[in-house]
């Protein structure tokens, strides 16, 4: 009896230490994930000579001067605006036309439906820069080079969006509802815009979030397709920052912080939907 209690006690101690180290590990990893962002925010408020002298846990008071130094050479808000124009337009186009394409695949029985849908699935596997050089040449011919159209128009055909929304429509839109609307005399476009799109909205919203993030973070194609500094997106401007300020670390940290903090704030609100969008793709395969 006595030894049994001892064993139990030792077992509990083992569990306690196991838990302790588990939490220690999880917290350490969380610190590794968060520290770069923390250092970034702190250093954005400190003068460069202090940054080179050592780390600090509390913010400095040089943020205004850093901002003045930074804004002279980097039109960061212009970059913000440019990125926003491109990301919002691409998101709307890919969402609307993605839903329209998904609707055709999900609810219309025409010849070649299955084959064409397989075709869409295959295009998901094509890496984006495979046709980049050809696209660059095409844009020169069509006079789309150095315009936002070159980045916005291709998003009408976003295969992953079609795939995800079709799955949702298959499960959530009853064909009887559409038949009823047709009998009431609704035109096909009316039915899509007023009935199908609102029902599919949760799926459209999730995909739109992912498309927005993708467009916002995209670096290579705007780098190739945009030529003028006033048209540059935020990632291109940020990448240029390194060469512009040389030893002015405060200004560099501040520029990076301005590009990252909005994403961190948006993440707090949308993380649930983003995660559901990302996992849905993997689980359906």
């Amino acid at each position: 009896m006595k030894s049994n209690a001892k064993v139990k006690k030792r077992f509990r101690a083992g569990v306690f230490f196991g838990r302790f180290f588990l939490y220690l590990f999880l917290i350490l990893l969380a610190v590794i994930c968060a520290t770069p962002f923390y250092i970034m925010i702190i250093n954005a408020t400190r003068p460069s000579f202090e940054i080179t002298q050592g780390l600090s846990l509390i913010p400095g008071h040089n943020i205004v001067q850093n901002y003045r130094n930074m804004i002279v050479a980097t039109p960061i808000w212009q970059g913000f605006k440019n990125s926003l124009i491109i990301a919002v337009s691409s998101t709307i186009l890919s969402g609307y036309f993605g839903a329209l394409t998904a609707y055709a695949f999900s609810k219309f029985r025409f010849k070649g439906n299955k084959v064409l849908f397989w075709f869409v699935l295959v295009t998901m596997m094509i890496p984006p820069q495979l046709g980049l050089i050809g696209y660059f040449m095409l844009c020169i011919k069509l006079h789309l080079i150095n315009t936002y159209w070159a980045l916005i128009l291709p998003t009408i055909a976003t295969a992953a969006t079609v795939f995800f929304i079709k799955m949702y429509m298959d499960a959530n839109i009853d064909i009887a509802l559409l038949e009823a609307a047709r009998i009431d005399g609704g035109s096909e476009f009316y039915i899509f815009n007023r009935i199908v799109l609102p029902i599919a909205m949760p799926a459209v919203a999730v995909m739109s979030l992912l498309n927005f993030i993708f467009s916002w973070n995209n670096y290579l194609s705007p780098l190739v397709l945009l030529m003028e500094k006033k048209k540059f997106t935020l990632p291109i401007l940020i990448a240029l920052v390194k060469g512009v300020y040389k030893q002015d670390f405060g200004a560099q940290y501040l520029a990076v912080a301005i590009s990252i903090v909005p994403i961190m704030i948006a993440f707090m609100f949308f993380s649930k939907y983003i995660i559901s969008g990302i996992t849905a793709g993997a689980l359906k395969e």
């Binding site: 970034m40 696209y135 660059f136 899509f192 390194k242 961190m264």
Partner: protein, 316 residues
């Protein structure tokens, strides 16, 4: 009634039109045009693309791929950067996912969010941030290592200038960005595994380690294949971070000793859009990358599905 249905279903074609027109004009045509360019000698100084032999069509670019040492180096760098990032990413992803789904952890959502956050931030910003954090000699990471007495004051590490460290640094940054993403996918798969399996295994006396290998891993294999293939495709197309970190650090530069972080897509970009803008050769590089990834993906899918049937047979 039949006529009505036929007419209705024709709208399907109409609704598909924008997608397919866009796809053909803005995606498929550029790919085919790139393929065509890869057989020409097109560059800034030779816009017609004629080969020295006088013909306008030839395999010169593809032959050049086999003799271009920069390209060979970029293949090696790309693979090394990817593998050194992927193996720990897989281990951390699987480990964290099983910890957060199977044990009662306080603040589960918070941990999950913090681990996932680096994945959403613009790669360009991450690259610049780490460019400063890893800087020699006043970079915060060197400062932390000195403060913790892991390295001496006079032994600060050239994270971005040393050839070996530069690749490893890029791998670590990619690991930092992606292990949370893998974890989230594995968690979603693990939640779907029925609890009864684990209960039954526990009754039979199986420990947590044993049930992880015998129950969890086989059941989440489809998601593991997905993570492997998507990570491979992403890894082979790696550009943003090595490009921004390498540029100006002389690591993406022209000297052979400074090529440590030049990946295959960086080589493509440098060839096709910098210097003499050798569009023809750049196009050949693009297709070489694509074919490499395609063959690997097919091998992965084939070997994984074959193992699948073998495993089932053994279970019987």
């Amino acid at each position: 009634m039949r006529k009505f249905l036929f007419k209705k279903d024709n709208y399907g074609y109409l609704f598909l039109m924008p997608f397919f027109i866009t796809f053909f004009v803005f995606q498929l045509y550029p790919i085919l045009y790139t393929l065509y360019l890869s057989f020409t000698n097109t560059s800034m100084t030779n816009p017609t693309g004629v080969w020295p032999t006088g013909s306008s069509f030839g395999f010169g670019n593809y032959i050049r791929l086999f003799t271009d040492n920069f390209f060979h180096r970029s293949i090696y760098s790309t693979w090394r950067i990817w593998i050194v990032n992927f193996i720990p990413q897989l281990i951390f992803g699987l480990g964290l996912a099983s910890i957060l789904t199977r044990s009662k952890i306080r603040g589960k959502e918070l941990f999950r969010g913090v681990y996932f956050l680096p994945n959403l931030v613009t790669a360009a910003s991450i690259a610049l941030l780490f460019n400063m954090l890893l800087g020699w000699e006043y970079g915060p990471i060197n400062q932390i290592l000195v403060a913790l007495r892991i390295i001496g004051e006079d032994a600060k590490i050239h994270f971005l200038f040393d050839v070996g460290w530069a690749r490893t640094s890029v791998s670590v940054i990619l690991w930092w960005m992606w292990f949370g993403h893998s974890m989230i996918l594995f968690m979603a798969a693990m939640v779907a595994v029925p609890k009864q399996y684990y209960d039954a295994a526990a009754v039979d006396g199986a420990g947590a380690w044993h049930s992880f290998w015998k129950i969890t891993l086989p059941l989440i294999r489809p998601v593991m294949i997905y993570v492997l293939v998507t990570s491979l495709i992403g890894g082979m197309n790696n550009f943003d971070i090595p490009f921004i970190i390498g540029e100006g650090q002389a690591l993406g530069g022209t000297l052979v000793s400074q090529q440590a972080t030049r990946t295959m897509v960086m080589h493509l970009y440098m060839m096709a859009f910098r210097g003499d803008s050798q569009k023809g050769y750049g196009a050949a590089v693009a297709f070489a990358i694509f074919i490499m990834v395609l063959i690997l993906s097919i091998i992965i899918f084939k070997s994984m599905t074959r193992k699948d049937t073998g495993g089932r047979r053994a279970a019987r």
